[in-house]
Symmetry: C2
DNA sequence: AAAAATATGTTGATTTTTCAACAAAAGGAG
DNA sequence: CTCCTTTTGTTGAAAAATCAACATATTTTT
């Protein structure tokens, strides 16, 4: 597990925990690591939630596919970040989303029960982990509010511009990369791919933005 | 505070806490109660988050108004339920939403810092409250996923039907009331009011649903 | 390097939403 | 009960999104 220390240290679940404790803790929590090839499903919609996922390398996308086959992309998860923690904590019987590896990825799984309930060793770190989980869930809620700010806009153009300006702000630069290709961006913004493509074209022509592949610049 | 006991007992923040402890606890937490007339703002977008709100009577709506004045309704909050807890826990400097009293309402406010940090009396209940907050935030996340399931649909009809079927399921009955008038429902579903009205009309005509004011029945 | 597969851009027809304006209905105040 | 206000329904024109189909570009595989 030591080789993942660099990444795990930055995971919000382990905030305020010393390296030495962290290593021991992982053992006690029964953490295990699995690898997933590109496009492989890390967990599938409809299955019960039990484990918290932590991306160690690569990246994962959280997606939701409805009755008619329409895909929504909820988020992109990068190294040090957690996913599925809300479902694991809430003990959801059937997860409303799937997680798919975006590239070759290593994922750490931790049984949420091991975090929430004291173990036989009576480890003292559970309180800290619960506190950290609570903070993380509060931040995730903020993320959802941001997403609503984007998707509640009524036109493709407004959704796109709202998304791009949020990205620029969080990158603290007017030039930034986005983690989505065109289809994925469309599925994130809840719009049509072809309409999105042409809207990007228009904005470039109008001199509002510059774009090359996944890199955007707001002018 | 005793007169609110019935309501507070059912609040997820106080899950697993005995009545006697609860009463003492409120004192220690510096809980205070305020009344709001119908349509009054409980807290405004843009202000810093500090307090968790608990509805004691009446009800509150959480809304977001964008740059162009378009309103989104995020949720309705009823007695025993909390609101703004995610912002308070995350220490948000500027809240992305407002809360408005839907009718004459009494709201209890608790400073989130008093929950998260041990007080001078060294009360032993902080851990339980943090745990409860964590559970609550996990459940709120599930709510957001449900909302995305609804608003990601592309047509007014599909959004409405998805919303109604979720409501029916949670009411465990094909007949149920919704907490929104037409304009509010439109702002929740992120659609146009007039289009929503006519869509409801069509569904009734087609025999898919019955509707009288805020009461719906799925046939 | 060529071939195959995937991703992106473009277009026009069709569907749906939005917008604005007004009529009808319901609710509240005096 | 009547007047006034608010909510809801209805309509048609305009704007925008969706859909389908295809051309082009890019990436991956062989």
């Amino acid at each position: 597990m030591k080789k993942y220390l660099e990444i795990l240290r930055k995971c919000p679940l382990f905030f305020g925990i010393e390296d030495e404790s962290l290593i021991k803790m992982l053992d006690c929590l029964g953490a295990r690591v699995e690898s997933f090839d590109k496009k492989y499903t890390v967990f599938a919609e409809g299955t019960p939630a039990k484990y918290i996922g932590i991306v160690l390398s690569g990246s994962v996308k959280i997606i939701q596919i409805d009755y008619y086959g329409n895909r929504s992309i909820l988020s992109s998860v990068f190294p040090s970040e957690m996913f599925a923690e809300a479902f694991a904590c809430a003990n959801t019987r059937s997860m409303p989303v799937s997680a798919v590896a975006d590239e070759m990825s290593e994922i750490m799984f931790i049984d949420c029960d091991h975090i929430l309930h004291t173990c036989q060793n009576n480890c003292g770190f559970h309180q800290q982990l619960i506190y950290n989980l609570m903070k993380d869930l509060a931040n995730k809620t903020l993320m959802f509010h941001q997403r609503i700010e984007i998707t509640s806009k009524r036109t493709t153009r407004e959704k796109l511009l709202t998304y791009l300006s949020i990205q620029a702000k969080s990158a603290e630069s007017s030039v930034f990369d986005i983690p989505y290709d065109r289809q994925e961006l469309a599925d994130f913004l809840e719009v049509e791919r072809s309409g999105l493509s042409s809207e990007i074209g228009k904005l470039v022509k109008e001199g509002v933005i510059k774009n090359k592949k996944n890199q955007f610049e707001i002018l």
